[in-house]
């Protein structure tokens, strides 16, 4: 019926009032001529309203001619009549066309230029640079070539590592990634001092006076080569340094760990209201949950207060492990190695290494220490 209604709207429908006797005969006569009447409604014993297709109205005339029935069109509906009315009132049509033309014309200019990602550079600087490249408010949209402007903008602004220009309707978005500026390596000043505690093995003085001898223990911060009157001491001091890495392992261990099964629940948050879509509760008995929210991108000052919230349930299970003494020792050793790895500075050369289990009071615990001796450069400038 929806489709039939559509067809009627396109071809035009008349609501006709008919006055006189013999409505039934009119209906039957119209019917035999293939004129369809519908929604026939008696309003009084001698009057009725009905609907018909506009194109059939002319054909109804001969039917009523000899019957003493008067027809009167009450309402006209449908596209043909709308067009007719518009033809009579050209002003409306003209206004609508003019409005559309104005909107179209206005939409072919750049109205907004936004700058994103600038920290040190001010938006003003970026806009100024863009202006010299022919991108400013009120510029013809088709004249803006985002790729070339992005490239030339990057050349203009040496502080940037990357510039992207994109057009979104009447808005141009300039995205900037600024260069991360590293402070230039400052030349050292003053004395060379020990970076850590160790036993000095080699001293090589290039500039300055040696303060330590080979075979001497030095503490962190102790002066190794004095600058004297020179701006900076130079030289190398090599020393033996000791590190210890420790690791522990339990013979019997228990706790919870994830099984790998997960399930997600979706919620929509509108303002302060939360609508739960799926999985109100976790399907698992033992679980951890992680909540993340996604909101719509903010545009200018308009923020749509709708968020999609995803709750991720991770199934957990109790576990219990038992290890033999040897396995525990191995686990402790690998942990000790990791610990040591963290403590060793870069460039340290391991000279000696010793592994030793450490007795502990707790019978459930195994502990392993790794002692290493390294050979490394320990002379650094006090100020750097």
């Amino acid at each position: 019926m929806l489709l039939a209604g559509l067809r009627e709207r396109l071809t035009g429908v008349l609501v006709v009032e008919c006055r006189g006797e013999g409505l039934e005969r009119l209906i039957n006569a119209a019917h035999t001529r293939g004129i369809v009447l519908w929604d026939i409604r008696r309003v009084s014993p001698t009057a009725a309203l009905f609907k018909m297709a506009a194109v059939d109205f002319r054909r109804l005339r001969p039917v009523i001619r000899r019957r003493g029935i008067k027809l009167k069109i009450r309402r006209k509906r449908g596209l043909p009549f709308v067009i007719q009315r518009l033809k009579k009132r050209k002003g409306i049509l003209l206004g609508a066309a003019a409005g559309a033309a104005v909107i179209y014309a206005l939409s072919s200019f750049v109205w907004f230029i936004d700058v994103q990602g600038n920290n040190k550079l001010s938006a003003q600087q970026v806009l100024e640079a863009a202006r010299t490249l022919g991108l400013e408010r009120g510029v013809w949209r088709s004249q803006v070539d985002p790729a070339s402007i992005a490239r030339r903008l990057k050349e203009k602004l040496p502080q940037t590592a990357w510039v992207g220009v994109s057009q979104q309707g009447t808005r141009v978005l300039i995205k900037i990634v600024e260069k991360v500026e590293r402070p230039p390596a400052k030349p050292g000043k003053g004395d060379l001092v020990a970076a850590g505690t160790g036993l000095v093995t080699d001293v090589l003085v290039l500039k300055g006076t040696s303060q330590v001898k080979e075979g001497q223990m030095v503490k962190k911060g102790q002066s190794l080569i004095a600058a004297g009157g020179l701006p900076a001491a130079q030289g190398f001091v090599r020393a033996r340094v000791w590190y210890t890495g420790t690791g522990e392992a339990k013979l019997k261990d228990e706790g919870v760990k994830p099984t790998g099964n997960t399930s997600t629940g979706l919620r929509i948050k509108i303002g302060a209201k939360v609508i739960i879509l799926t999985n109100k509760k976790s399907p698992f008995a033992l679980y951890t949950e992680e909540v993340s929210a996604k909101s719509l991108p903010q545009w200018r000052n308009i923020r749509i207060p709708v968020e999609l919230i995803t709750v991720r349930y991770r199934e957990m299970t109790h576990f219990q492990t038992e290890m033999s003494r040897e396995e525990a020792l191995q686990a402790a050793e690998s942990k000790a190695k990791e610990d040591l790895e963290r403590k060793l500075p870069q460039g340290a050369k391991i000279v000696k290494q010793q592994l030793k289990p450490v007795p502990v009071k707790d019978h459930n615990l195994v502990r392993v220490d790794i002692d290493v001796e390294t050979q490394e450069e320990i002379a650094v400038h006090r100020e750097s």
Partner: protein
């Protein structure tokens, strides 16, 4: 007549609805709000309180109030309103 009877017998033997085989009117009611009359042979009277339709079984009278002829097709009538009574034959 013989053919008609044969048709009717065959129809009931094969469980085919009578209205398909013969020109018997099929009347469908939707509560007391709507009535469909299929296989009619002409509209005789239409007022807001009474509708009379010709069928192969004679006159069919529908009475009630606020009747609207929603659809009028060669063999089908759809009537809306408050139905009270449907009967075959004259009152």
């Amino acid at each position: 007549m013989v053919l008609k009877k044969l048709q009717a017998n065959l129809g009931s033997a094969l469980d085919i609805p009578q209205d398909v085989l013969q020109d018997i009117p099929k009347i469908t009611l939707v509560g007391n709000l709507e009535v469909w009359i299929e296989n009619h042979t002409g509209l005789i009277e239409y007022t807001a309180e009474k509708v009379r339709v010709n069928t192969s079984l004679g006159l069919l009278t529908v009475s009630g109030s606020d009747f609207i002829l929603v659809q009028l097709l060669p063999t089908e009538i759809k009537l809306e309103g408050k139905l009270q009574q449907i009967r075959f034959g004259e009152e």
